[in-house]
Structures are given as structure tokens and as C-alpha cells.
Symmetry: C2
Subunit: 343 residues, 2 copies
DNA sequence: ATTAGCACTCATGCTTATCGAGTGCTAATG
DNA sequence: CATTAGCACTCGATAAGCATGAGTGCTAAT
């Protein structure tokens, strides 16, 4: 079913207006905004039809119209234009992200917080996801009499570290020996392969050394689990509190959704290509998100490595602007991470 | 001025009741709760006098009484009993904090989040504060072709690390040389001494090597600044949202106070001995905190090292219970950190 | 297809009335 | 003199009534 050009323009205006003012719009108002040479009664007829089609809604009989989620969907798929960031905007983003930070985790944290600041909404991002991350290197460094740090680097550029303690005095010599063993036994393995069971069988093969290496091996297990769990970054949740669409109740529900984050991760994984996706309220089938939309996109590091970054806000959000900002930041992050990985 | 025993008991009951139910209490109700053999009219007379003394307040003429901040103050200083944690409570805390985590930062994060979970309020803690933290050791570890990690350990047990990148290919040899220089020039210095200027003058003394070491030195500067800045841990802010005393407005204000945290830090430093302190609403002279109280205590690592941990909640909080929980956790954290530092 | 005109709806804001919990005060009591 | 019964009074909370006006839907005319 095709809508007339005029209906399109009306729908578009309703959405734009609602995004800007958060109030239902009347036929009269639309009439003066649209400059068609028709009267408000004609607009009213059009509005009635758009409402019948399920694209618009009325909060109550004598109120103006607001977009339904179907209305938003049509708007997003067909009607909205593309927004181009101003030079100033881009420079602002560049100036904050182009620091020579080379830790992927910190870079992502920065990007997430920057986007939250810019959008005044909540932002979520994942660390780099990779099909098959494997151990690139392991280093042990002594930091105290009985304590040392284990540093794990992976093929996706991740560098994770963790402190651990042994029951005996450490020396460079001992640590070197341990380190060599770890390198020999674990470098090249996929992170997934490093399980409790695998560690145990490795320990067994070490014979009398196994006893001394339990702490190191435990630490390795923990850190590789840490490395294979994609980490999540949240920011700007508090921004949502000041928005008219969230009362205390729903804000709390939303926060909890973020905190017990499995559900959110699932939502995020709905993004399965390199395009930007918009999910609107009820489409997500999560009561807590009925009033909200999520825009997600991927930052692409290289063929095998990407991550996801997205904005969560009220359905009434400025999609064009947000998409532009999100995509630009995702683009920069992807580039930056690619540099880090290559370098 | 001394209050009669009966007045004390009445005040105490008003506070207890308000803490539990968040509602003004009437003379009649008090009468039945207290089991004095007097009538509600007598209680009313007592209440009137307590109100005249500024210890109680009436939300409006025909309402019951609630404690004023002076009332709370008296209650806290003189009236409230001591609460002893149940075995179950203690075991729960132990089981979460007695993991063999040896990174002070992570330990503190865990403690903060545990306390937030237990109290359902917001919790803030500082890292270890120390009069004069000095550099105990520096290590450089290669993690990529041109990237390395610098690890700084300090006298207070802090272990901080940071990735940095050089403009040239790294080798074990080069890093060893760099490392030796760093150790020679910086180990034993107070963190405060490592300033931009100091780094520059050190670089100057290195002559032709200086050029190659700029990146390392920059990283060192950054990381030592990071280490000397006491870090702050927040948790449970969202808990405050569900409390009746905070509407959206005041919750946001409170969150912002936490986020731009200088003010909060000042408040925290009001704690200048090893006792537990309670600050009540208006006493803090921060509009945002008028409805809130803060309980702070120190965790003591050893003579020179301590940190602060505190709970922020509505003035109407269960002080005895909270103090018990807070102090127990602070005690464990202090102990644990002491072990880590010694070991 | 468009439109003027008009009856109809409903959220909003204001005023008024009622209710009842809880107080403060007075006068009586042991 | 502390205590108390009794009672008038206050004031928030809740509901009900009413006017207002923005905005619609429908009809009949163009």
C-alpha cells in the first residue's frame, strides 16, 4: 500500500514536531506549518486516515496526533533525511577521541562517555567482538615479594592484566621459568580452549612443578575468562532521569535492565550486519523499553573484529542527528582500533 | 539542659518509628507503643515541649511528629543502641570479601558494591590515602611491536599500569635499558615530586637518549599522576531512586553531586580521625543533601595508610544497623589491605 | 476533493465541600 | 503539680462540580 505524497509529508511533520516538542500536534498547527493550500479540515481528513492505518495515535479524543510506533518505523525507513554533522561537531569529537590512547578499553570508555555527553541519553558499547580470539602472548612481571602480574595479549588487540600472589618468594628466575612454560603451553590457543579442565590437564603434565604453579594457572584461567567475556561499557544513564517520558518507576526499571545486562546484550546482538539499526519501543518486546528506542551500529576494526555501540533514549528522539553522531563516532573508533591493532 | 528519661524514650521512639515507616507518628500511637501508664494527652504535652526544644517537627498542624535534624543528632549521639551483626550477615560479608583478591583497587570496588547491595543506599569509598606515597618500583613490559606496559608500584601497595606506544620497534634490550634508567632516576621519589618539570629536567640529563624516551616518560608522568590522585569508588546510586524521600529532581541533583565529585570529596575529608561519623542533612550545608545523611568511617591499613568509606542515604535511615555493617566492612578491608601490603 | 460550520469530547484548572486524623488548650481530678 | 478527659480547631487529602478551550468528527454545501 502506497501513501500519497501529502500523507507522507504530514506524517513526517507530525514526527518532527513531536520529536521537538513532545506534544500532540493539531490539524490547525500542521496546516500553518506545511503551507499546503488546503484547510485544516482537509488535514483532519488525512489525519483520520493515517490514524486508521495505525500510523498515528491520539492520546484522547480531543487531542492532536502523535506518531505510533508504526509511524516512527515508516518515518525511519522512508521519510527521514540524512543529517550531516557540522564541522564544529566533528572537531569536538575528534579532539576528544584523537588522544593517543592505545588501550582499547579506555578508548571505548571515552567514546561511550563522549557520546552520552553529546546525546544526553544513555549509551552502551561492547568491547571488540571477535570470532576466534587467541592468546598472542603472556608475560609475568614481579611486583612484590610474593606477588606478580600476569599480562595476557590477544589477537584482537586486547591487553588484560591481573595481580596474583604465590605462597613462596618469587625471583626473576622462577618467574621466567613459569613464563616460558605458559608461553609454550598456551600461546596460540583460542581463549575458549582455556578451561578449568584444560588447565588441570596442563598442570598434570608439569609433574612436580604443578604444585608451585597453581596460583599462576588460576590467575591465567581467570584472566582468560575475563578476556573472552566481551566487556560492556555504560554511560549517561542518569541523563534519562531528566526526560519527561520517564517517571521514577520506569527509570528504575530501565536502570535495572542495564545493570542485569544479559537482556540488553541479547538486544544488542540483534544487530547482525554492519548497518545501523533502529529498534522502536514495542518492537523490542521488553515492557521496560516500550517508551524507548535503541539505535545501534557496529564499529568495524577489520574483517574479523568489530564491536557494537548504541544509544538508548526515548522513542521521541532525534533519529537523524543521533544516527549521524553515532555513526561518526563508530567510524572513528573502528579506525582507531584498527591502527592500534596494526601498530 | 537535661531531658527527662521519659522525653528521651519518646524521642527515641519517634525516631525509630520514623526510620521504619517514614510517617509522622501520633501521640496516640506512641502511647500504645510505649506502654507507659499515661494517656495520650500527657504524651502530647511532652511532644509539645520536645517540639519547642527543636527536637521534633510537625509537617503541618494536624499531623504527628517527626524528628528534626537536632532530634536525629541527639538520637545518634546519646540514644541509639549498638547493633550487632548476625552471624549470617558476617558470613555473607566474609564470603564475598575473603576472596583472595590482592589488587587493592578491586578489593575496594567489591567492598563498595557489597555495601551498596546490603544497605540499598549509595556508597562511596576512597582508595588508600597515604601521607607520602613514593615509587617502589617501575617495570616495563613489551606487549606489542611498538607498545609496552609501564607498571608502577608504590609504597602504599598501589599497582598501576598503563599502555604506551613508541615511534620505533621495541626490543627486550631497549626496554631493559629504559627500565634501568627509570628505576635509577625515579625509584624512591615521592609521587608528588614527579612533575612535568622534573620529567623534563630528567630527560635533559639523558642527552641523546631523551628523544627515544619521551613516550615512556610521558607515560610515567601520567601514571604517577594517576597513582597520586586518590581514586573514588561509587556504587548503588540507583538505589536512591526508589526511595520515597527523593523525587526525580532531588535524585538528579544528588547524582550530579556524585558525578562532579570534588564537593563530595571535601565532605569526606571532614572525617579526620578513626571514628565513625554521622553527618545529618542540613549540617552539611549542601542544599542537595538536606534530605540525606552520610555515615563515614575509616578503614585503617596501618599507621600511615587509611582510606574512607561511607554510606549516603536518606536522613531517615537505620543508623545502628548501617554503622554496624559499615564498620565491619571497613574493618575487614583494612585488615585485608594490611595483609596485602605486608605480604 | 475540499471546506465551512457546528456539535461533541475530554484534559485541565479552579472552586467548594466533606472527612478525619491529630493537635492544643482548658478545666477537672487525685 | 502531674495527669487527663473533653472538645474545638486545623489542615491535608479526596472527591465532586463546573467552566474553559483545544481539537476532533461529521455533515452538507461548493
Amino acid at each position: 500500500m502506497e501513501l500519497s505524497d501529502r500523507k507522507m509529508k504530514i506524517l513526517s511533520e507530525v514526527v518532527n514536531n513531536y520529536i521537538q516538542y513532545a506534544e500532540p500536534i493539531s490539524s490547525k498547527m500542521l496546516c500553518s506549518l506545511l503551507n499546503f493550500s488546503v484547510s485544516s479540515a482537509t488535514i483532519r481528513n488525512e489525519l483520520a486516515e493515517l490514524t486508521d492505518l495505525g500510523l498515528l495515535e491520539q492520546p484522547h479524543t480531543s487531542a492532536g496526533r502523535i506518531p505510533s510506533h508504526l509511524g516512527y518505523r515508516l518515518y525511519i525507513n522512508k521519510l527521514m533525511g540524512k543529517y550531516y554533522l557540522t564541522k564544529k561537531n566533528k572537531e569536538h569529537i575528534n579532539s576528544i577521541l584523537n588522544l593517543d590512547e592505545i588501550d582499547p578499553e579506555i578508548l571505548l570508555k571515552n567514546a561511550t562517555s563522549l557520546l552520552a555527553d553529546m546525546t544526553k541519553f544513555a549509551v552502551i558499547s561492547t568491547g571488540v567482538c571477535t570470532q576466534e580470539d587467541y592468546v598472542k602472548n603472556i608475560k609475568l612481571v614481579q611486583v612484590g615479594k610474593c606477588t606478580a602480574m600476569i599480562i595476557l595479549t590477544t589477537s584482537s588487540g586486547l591487553v588484560k592484566n591481573k595481580l596474583f600472589r604465590c605462597e613462596f618468594l618469587l625471583t626473576d628466575n622462577i618467574l621466567d621459568r613459569f613464563n616460558n612454560i605458559l608461553v609454550e603451553k598456551f600461546v596460540g590457543l583460542s581463549l575458549k580452549e582455556i578451561t578449568q579442565a584444560y588447565i588441570q590437564s596442563t598442570a598434570a603434565s608439569l609433574e612436580e612443578l604443578a604444585f608451585f604453579m597453581t596460583d599462576v594457572l588460576d590467575a591465567l584461567l581467570e584472566i582468560s575468562e575475563l578476556a573472552s567475556r566481551t566487556d560492556l561499557h555504560f554511560d549517561g544513564q542518569i541523563n534519562l532521569l531528566s526526560l519527561p517520558e520517564y517517571d521514577q518507576q520506569s527509570a528504575i526499571k530501565l536502570m535495572n535492565l542495564f545493570n542485569y545486562s544479559d537482556d540488553i546484550v541479547d538486544l544488542f546482538l540483534m544487530n547482525d550486519d554492519n548497518k545501523t539499526h533502529v529498534f522502536i519501543g514495542e518492537e523490542m518486546h521488553h515492557e521496560e523499553l516500550d517508551q524507548s528506542s535503541i539505535i545501534i551500529t557496529r564499529y568495524v576494526v577489520d574483517k574479523a573484529n568489530y564491536g557494537i555501540i548504541g544509544v538508548v533514549g526515548p522513542t521521541r528522539m532525534n533519529y537523524t542527528k543521533l544516527i549521524a553522531k553515532l555513526e561518526y563516532i563508530a567510524y572513528l573508533v573502528g579506525n582507531k582500533l584498527n591502527n592500534i591493532l596494526e601498530g
